[in-house]
Amino acid sequence: MKHGGVTKFSIQNLLGPIIVLVLLTHFVGSASTSLQLITQFALCLFVMVLALQVFVGNSGVLSFGHGAFALIGSYISAMLTAPVNIKDNALSMNQLWQPLVSPQVNIYVALLISAAVSALIAAVTGVFLMRLNGLAAGIATFALLGVAYNVFFNNKKIGPGSQALPGVPLIENNWILLLLAVISLVLVYFINISKIGRTLRATREDPMAAPALGISIFKVRLISFIISGAIAGLAGGMYSHVAGTFQVQDYYLEFTFITLSMLIVGGSASIWGALVGTFIITAVGQVLLMMEQDLPVFGIQVQIPLGSRAVIIALTFVGMLLWRSSGVTNGKEFRIPKIGRK
């Protein structure tokens, strides 16, 4: 991963992605019902990729565990907003712990709580995880995901276990999701150019240099881990309100792979990379899906065998790593190309 990352505030770096995001949401999101759903899911995934970007992009530490935060965020938001009678009927016969049945709050309060609880979990686990380096950290974050999955999948007292929780209220308005995405984007942007971001990037190549400069790598890493946990929790919460359900399997390996692909293909060093990556993977995925189902794409009809879509996306991911590990954006933020000035 290229050690990119911007250090100075630049209005076009910030506004560029926002404008692109708004335009995409408006045009694609209103084109048809199916495209609207795709856009909504994409916005949730984008927020998730932002969460990855703010941590992985700055610290250089790979995290396979952020799905755990999305899972927790989704679980909380779903459980807090699902109608009481659904929880009662669908779940309590499966021994759902009574106190979890009754609460019901407003969606936005629930999302806030999701982010907060995820941040808390990130803080607690981060105290342990952020002391580790390189491989150990990667494997340990995998363990984090494993534990979350293992616990939620099997525990019927706290949640639906391996089944889906139905009846989660939907956020039907694209603009609300967009607003949440923009807020996350702005937050991540300012973290990236802040002292935390710069410190993380500066010391990741040379961990020995940090103590010499009086910096605690552990502290800055922990802070960025907590923030990224919060945003991941938000993403999970959003996802549950687009899908209308909470299901543990939705946040495991497939989710981890897709979000990491978006990060890598777009470029892990910038928010523009996060946006580009989310767009490319979503768009390519859709096109391939239609080709699998022998539907015409922009008038052209090509069929590919069932199952090859998944292979192609995975190959794209690996291919990008081989070709340009800094992603399509090559570590850069959004910039209006300077024409005529070479």
């Binding site: 991963m1 250089g60 530490v61 790979l62 396979f64 342990f128 995880l129 002391r131 580790l132 380096n133 390189g134 491989l135 150990a136 990667g138 494997i139 340990a140 995998f142 363990a143 984090l144 494993g146 534990v147 293992n150 616990v151 099997n154 961990p207 792979f257 990491l260 692909s261 890598i264 065998p305 199952g307 090859s308 998944a310 292979v311 995975a314 190959l315 991911f317 690996v318 790593l321 081989l322 590990s325």
Partner: protein
């Protein structure tokens, strides 16, 4: 009780073989090969799809196929990633693992393929009034044989010497004439053989092969390597063994709570990593060589 102990040891042995396969590649390339899972999976598929042949032929063919896939991985993908930063290698291997899982789904379908492999190895036999599963004994014997063979290879052959030297300091090893490409290919090939052995043992007990067959054991073995110490093959095998024993023991001891065995294991790993970031065989808080 005796059976539980045998189960624990045999699972430990199985995991130590899996961890060793990972450790070989990690030693020479500092690469954690997530796709090792897919080597185990393809070996399992091959075993299950060739049951019409005698076991020896089926096994031989499986080893050939698995080694072939391992070498293919190395030549087509990992060779281009030599010297690249470890985070990229890690995520590339994750990506390759996913690619192969999906290819298997394309080739074999998502529904499990199954066939009974070596039916004579199932069942129990009675000794001294106890009833013991044949497979646990066979697993233990097989593991011991393979570990001894690997030990001999690593400690007493020229190839083993080169592997050990390259794991310690590849640059200097090359200056002495160790051929990097050949050595790395040898490491991958050996890891393929080990994967095939692991698959054989797994398939005897569980012949339902899905594209994700090898994932579970690989992830846990990875955890084992990190516990045992990334720095050596001995550490890898030991770490794998510990994971297997702990997992089996947790399964026996936890009773109804045994679904959470993984969580307990992961938590144990976290604790160990905190106290000894370099693994159990390392000396305290060594800065990692990754």
């Amino acid at each position: 009780m005796v059976q539980s102990i045998l189960d624990a040891i045999s699972l430990g042995g199985l995991y130590s073989l899996a961890a060793l396969g990972l450790g070989l590649v990690f030693g020479v390339m500092r690469l954690v090969n997530f796709a090792h899972a897919e080597l185990i999976t393809i070996a399992a598929y091959t075993l299950v799809l060739t049951t019409q042949f005698p076991l020896a032929i089926s096994l031989l063919f499986t080893i050939i196929v698995t080694v072939f896939v391992a070498l293919l991985m190395e030549i087509s993908i990992y060779r281009r990633l030599r010297g690249v930063n470890p985070a990229i290698m890690l995520i590339a291997s994750f990506g390759l693992s996913t690619v192969l899982q999906r290819v298997y789904e394309l080739m074999f379908g998502a529904l499990p393929r199954s066939a009974v492999v070596a039916p004579f190895l199932r069942g129990d036999f009675k000794i001294a009034g106890l009833s013991i599963t044949i497979s646990s004994i066979i697993t233990i014997v097989l593991t011991i044989v393979i570990l001894l063979a690997m030990g001999y290879l690593v400690e007493r052959t020229s190839l083993g010497l080169q592997l050990r030297a390259a794991s310690a300091d590849f640059k200097t090893a090359r200056l002495l004439g160790v051929r990097s490409n050949r050595l790395i290919s040898a490491a991958f090939g050996l890891s393929g053989v080990l994967a095939a052995c692991v698959a054989l043992i797994l398939v005897i007990q569980n012949p339902q092969i899905s594209p994700y067959y090898g994932l579970n054991i690989t992830i846990l073995s990875l955890v084992g390597i990190v516990i045992g110490g990334i720095a050596s093959l001995r550490g890898a095998a030991l770490g794998g063994f510990i994971v297997g024993v702990v997992l089996s023991s947790l399964n026996t001891l936890l009773g109804n709570g045994r679904v959470y065995a993984y969580s307990w294991l992961f938590l144990l790993v976290l604790v160990i990593l905190l106290v000894r970031p370099g693994g159990l065989l390392s000396k305290g808080s060594e800065l990692e060589r990754v």
